[in-house]
Amino acid sequence: MLDFLLSFLILAGAVFTFIGSLGLARLRDFYTRLHGPTKATTLGVGCLLIASSLYFSHQGNGVSLHEILITLFLFITAPVSAHLLAKAALHQDLPRVNDRRGHPRD
């Protein structure tokens, strides 16, 4: 059962991580590319960390919860990074493709 759960979490984590980076590689302008890593990756890593926590708790040396800390760190920092990246892109006036609805302005 645990094995199955672990496998699921690991696989899900890896898949989300992959998809996040796929977005980075695949999408067509910076603003859309920004979305993949900031969300999918965060969740992917989150899944993996939960898996790790379960795994090491199961290993015997007491519960292992410190992985939560990394998740917490990521949840605080990833949005700030994304925000600043978006700001920088706006500052540099990077081009947009597809849709041009809504004009960023100061």
Partner: protein, 947 residues
């Protein structure tokens, strides 16, 4: 000891006299005279056994291990020379008192003279040849000062430098020769060397030894082709010339020939080198002397000629010739000193030395003229004057030598020609100066000089006559003594009589006298001829060209090599390292026994690693391609650093990974801070050739280090590592072996390392003191900066992160001893947490909350680490001996306390302090940030501005 004192006295007297001259010129003269007299008295006190034919040797230990002791020797030759040096020295001191004008510092002259006198005494009284050389070079140095005495005169400076260069160079050659003599005989002591003549002459090193020694002697004695310095040394005040160029300096060379006569003479090489050079010098000097219009110039070339004569005599090599050589040394010293003094009087009285203007002085100074004429007669070799006697001996030796070899008849022939010229220039000296009509346009009206200025000349001229008329009564004892010392053997039969019958030598003298008279009479056309061909072959010009060439070469080479190009230095460094590395490997030829690959079992490659390696190589090469875009390069370097950390993780080095990660970020931040003040792009300024060269060097370096790494990685080894693994827990009290090594096994390294870090903080502080830089108002495409200095979202969330990061850093610090972590990483985390505050809130805001001076922190960290180490002194253990114990407290439970933890705390503090110190400095530099905001593209404006 007495001999040592006799030599030392003038050296000690020199500063004394310089000091005395502050009071009066007369006091200085008396002082100098008394100093010289002191030396005389010291010598007289021990002279008795020497007069009886003994050789006195006195020794003081200095460097006996290498055969270098202060060893002095007084024998006949030394005594003769010491007499000349001191006697003529005393006369020159008296003479100089009146010669030198009020403007010139008499004290300085006397001081230099005494230095020179002491050096000369040292030369002639040395038993140890190295010691002789020391004094030899001292004569060069002190004569440099004497010749350059009138330092504001260009020709004085030039002459002094030339004399030093030539005689100094000769001295170096002589040093080489003496070293070889020491090598051959096993000693530098004359006693041994003079007794080893056979051994020396038979040794394979004889010829180089001889040549080196002769180079020394010839340069000093102004022998051809080194003669040219001597006329230029005439820029010295005349007392100096009278001293240096009659009895002392130039005689040092012939003294050396005499001194080493038993050791070196008697071979084909000796007679041809010494005799040949002497003969050439004799002829050339005599010839040129005739045509010199400068009074002292004439005397200078005459000196050269007479030195050639003496050299020639030693070259002939027979015992009788040696006796004649010694005799002529005496005679020449006496008449030449008096002639220089006379010339000095004339110069002093008329204000010029140009014989074309000086005429008919007989009317103005008959007394001086008489003295000068007597001395000139001696120089010419006129019978009844001393010069005649030794010259006659020389003629006789030339004749007897001439009968012994093929073309030997040339020798008496050449010698006679030299004699003719000698008579001619002597005649010119007398006639052109004292007669020959009236003076032309003299600066001063001449009259007899002060009484005491003539006394030295009178004494010397009297000697000329005494020796010339009564040689057996006057000079014979000292000559016998000296010649005996030269030969180190019983003296040959010789007869110091004026009349030896009608022998060839007499005829040669007669021919010389008559021929000289005729030649002088027919001088006009010869002068004209000479004037046309003057400066054809001027050794001085050769010397100057050589010197200029040397200077030009030195300048050219130095400027070419040292062009202050860092790129060149680095390229040389890389090339040299490559050369060393490759030649080290292949040393002993390509067929050596070191295979590139060793037998060690290797790890298999997995896909992820292969991929990561490719990525790393790709990014690194991309940096090479893109490095001109500095910001992009920086971002990519971040990726490389991350991959390096991953390698550390992969290969079981978690501590390194942590360290690498933290250092990487701080480095990138520092680079970003710096980049703000620097151009954003690197210009493409290297040409293709340079880039190709650099690429080749870089590639070779890469190949080399790859090969080295591969070679080592594939080889097995036995390491001291097991000891650390075994003793880490039991001896160091920690489970993390790397950390235990850092704070315990090799804690001393770590102490040094934090000292380096502390120094970085301090040195940057010292370097950047008050440096202000102007930042850029726009980014690299000319866009104004974003208005939002401190994005609120970032600011509030990073504040939240601060306590969290500090907690983490405490965690890392405390666990370091047992698990990956430690003071350094913890320190960097703390620093980064604080840097984050700078990033989010700016310098001003942060500095209000953080002490802006981290020196106490750095100092405290270093102090804690050092004190931890010192604490072990109290338990009589070496520095940095650690201790630990497991403590059990109620509730808290068991925990470990280790001295190494205190050490790690020191590390932590230094890291935090130094890192922040560096940043704070940048913050201060940023005071003058942001230049004028004149940006073509305002911030946020819609504009296509791709990067």
């Amino acid at each position: 000891m007495t001999l040592f004192l006799a030599v030392l006295t003038p050296f000690l007297g020199a500063p004394l006299v310089a000091w005395l001259s502050r009071y009066s010129r007369t006091a200085a003269a008396w002082g100098a005279g008394l100093v010289a007299l002191g030396s005389v008295l010291l010598l007289v006190s021990i002279v008795a056994p020497v007069l009886a034919g003994e050789t006195l040797v006195q020794r003081i230990g200095w460097l006996p291990q290498v055969g270098l002791d202060l060893a002095f020797r007084l024998d006949g030759l030394g005594l003769l020379f010491a007499g000349l040096i001191l006697g003529i020295g005393l006369l020159v001191i008296l003479y100089a008192r009146y010669y030198l004008s009020e403007r010139d510092s008499l004290g300085r002259l006397y001081a230099y003279l005494l230095l020179f006198m002491g050096s000369m005494l040292g030369v002639v009284l040395s038993e140890n040849l190295i010691q002789l050389l020391i004094f030899w070079e001292l004569t060069s140095l002190s004569s440099f000062l004497l010749i350059g005495y009138w330092k504001e005169r260009e020709e004085a400076r030039h002459g002094a430098r030339m004399a030093l260069a030539i005689t100094g160079a000769g001295g170096l050659a002589l040093l080489g020769g003496i070293l070889l003599l020491g090598e051959i005989t096993g000693s530098y002591e004359l006693t041994v060397i003079l007794a080893s003549g056979e051994l020396i002459r038979a040794h394979p090193l004889y010829l180089p030894t001889l040549i080196l020694v002769l180079l020394g002697a010839f340069t000093k004695s102004a022998q051809f082709p080194f003669h040219f310095w001597l006329p230029h040394a005439m820029a010295a005040p005349t007392p100096v010339s009278a001293y240096l160029h009659s009895a002392t300096m130039v005689k040092a060379g012939v003294f050396l020939l005499a001194r080493l006569f038993p050791a070196l003479s008697g071979t084909w090489e000796w007679s041809h080198l010494v005799g040949g050079v002497g003969l050439i010098t004799l002829l050339m000097g005599a010839f040129i002397a005739l045509f010199k219009h400068d009074l002292k110039g004439l005397l200078a070339y005459s000196t050269i000629s007479h030195l050639g004569l003496i050299t020639c005599l030693f070259g002939i090599g027979t015992p009788l010739a040696a006796v004649a050589g010694v005799f002529h040394i005496i005679n020449h010293a006496i008449f030449k000193a008096s002639l220089f003094m006379a010339a000095g009087i004339i110069d002093h009285e008329t204000g010029t030395r140009d014989m074309r203007r000086i005429n008919g002085l007989w009317k103005f100074m008959p007394h001086t003229a008489t003295l000068a004429m007597v001395a000139a007669a001696a120089m010419a070799g006129v019978p009844l004057f001393n010069g005649f006697l030794s010259k006659e001996m020389f003629f006789a030796e030339a004749v007897s030598m001439g009968t012994m070899m093929k073309f030997g008849w040339l020798l008496p022939f050449a010698v006679t020609i030299a004699g003719i010229f000698a008579v001619a220039y002597s005649l010119r000296f007398v006639h052109d100066v004292f007669f020959n009509g009236d003076p032309i346009d003299l600066p001063r009206t001449p009259h007899e000089p002060p009484r005491w200025m003539k006394v030295p000349v009178e004494v010397l001229v009297a000697l000329c006559l005494l020796v010339g008329i009564l040689p057996a009564l006057t000079v014979e004892p000292i000559l016998a003594l000296a010649a005996g010392a030269v030969l180190q053997a019983p003296l040959p039969d010789h007869d110091l009589a004026i009349w030896h019958g009608f022998n060839p030598a007499l005829w040669m003298s007669v021919i010389a006298l008559i021929g000289g008279g005729l030649m002088y009479a027919a001088r006009k056309p010869m002068f004209a001829l000479h004037a046309r061909h003057e400066n054809r072959l001027d050794a001085r010009r050769v010397y100057n060209a050589l010197l200029e060439g040397l200077l030009g070469f030195a300048r050219g080479l130095t400027r070419r090599l040292d062009n202050s190009s860092l790129q060149r230095m680095l390229a040389l460094f890389v090339s040299f390292a490559l050369l060393l590395g490759f030649s080290g490997w292949f040393g002993g030829g390509f067929g050596n026994n070191s295979p590139l690959t060793g037998p060690r079992a290797l790890l298999p490659v997995d896909a992820v690693s292969l991929f990561a390696a490719l990525a790393m190589a790709g990014v690194s090469l991309a940096v090479l391609k893109l490095h001109r875009q500095r910001f992009v390069a920086l971002v990519m370097i971040g990726a490389v650093g991350l991959l390096v950390a991953l390698i550390f993780v992969k290969f079981s080095a978690p501590d390194l990974a942590l360290t690498q990660l933290s250092v990487e970020v701080v480095t990138v931040i520092l680079l970003l801070l710096a980049l703000y003040f620097l151009p954003q792009h690197t210009p493409a300024e290297s040409n293709t050739g340079r880039r190709a060269r650099d690429a080749v060097l870089a590639l070779l370096a890469g190949v080399g280090i790859s090969a080295l790494a591969w070679a080592v990685l594939t080889r097995p080894y036995t390491s001291i590592a097991d000891y650390f693994l075994e003793n880490s827990v039991s001896g160091g009290g920690g489970h993390n072996v790397v950390n235990v090594i850092l704070v315990d096994f090799r804690g001393f390294d770590t102490l040094g390392e934090i000292t380096v870090l502390a120094l970085a903080g301090l040195a940057i502080f010292a370097m950047l003191d008050k440096l202000r830089l102007e930042g850029r108002g726009c980014d690299d495409v000319g866009r104004a900066w974003n208005w939002d200095t401190h994005p609120a979202i970032m600011a509030s969330l990073t504040r939240l992160l601060l306590p969290l990061a500090l907690l983490v850093s405490t965690f890392i610090l405390l666990r370091g001893h047992n698990l990956p972590g430690g003071g350094f990483i913890a320190g960097l985390i703390t620093a980064v947490a604080l840097i984050m505050q700078y990033l989010a809130n700016g310098v001003a805001w942060t500095h209000e909350r953080l002490p802006s001076n981290m020196h106490p922190l750095i100092g405290a960290g270093l102090a804690i680490a050092t004190l931890t180490g010192l604490a072990s002194f109290a338990f009589d253990h070496p520095f940095l001996s650690s201790t630990f114990s497991h403590v059990h407290w109620p509730i808290v439970g068991e925990f470990e306390l280790a001295s190494a933890m205190a050490f790690d705390l020191g590390v932590y503090l230094v890291v935090v302090g130094a890192t922040l110190q560096i940043l704070i400095h940048l913050g201060l530099m940023h005071d003058a940030s942001h230049g004028p905001d004149a940006c073509p593209i305002p911030s946020g404006q819609r504009h296509k501005a791709g990067r």
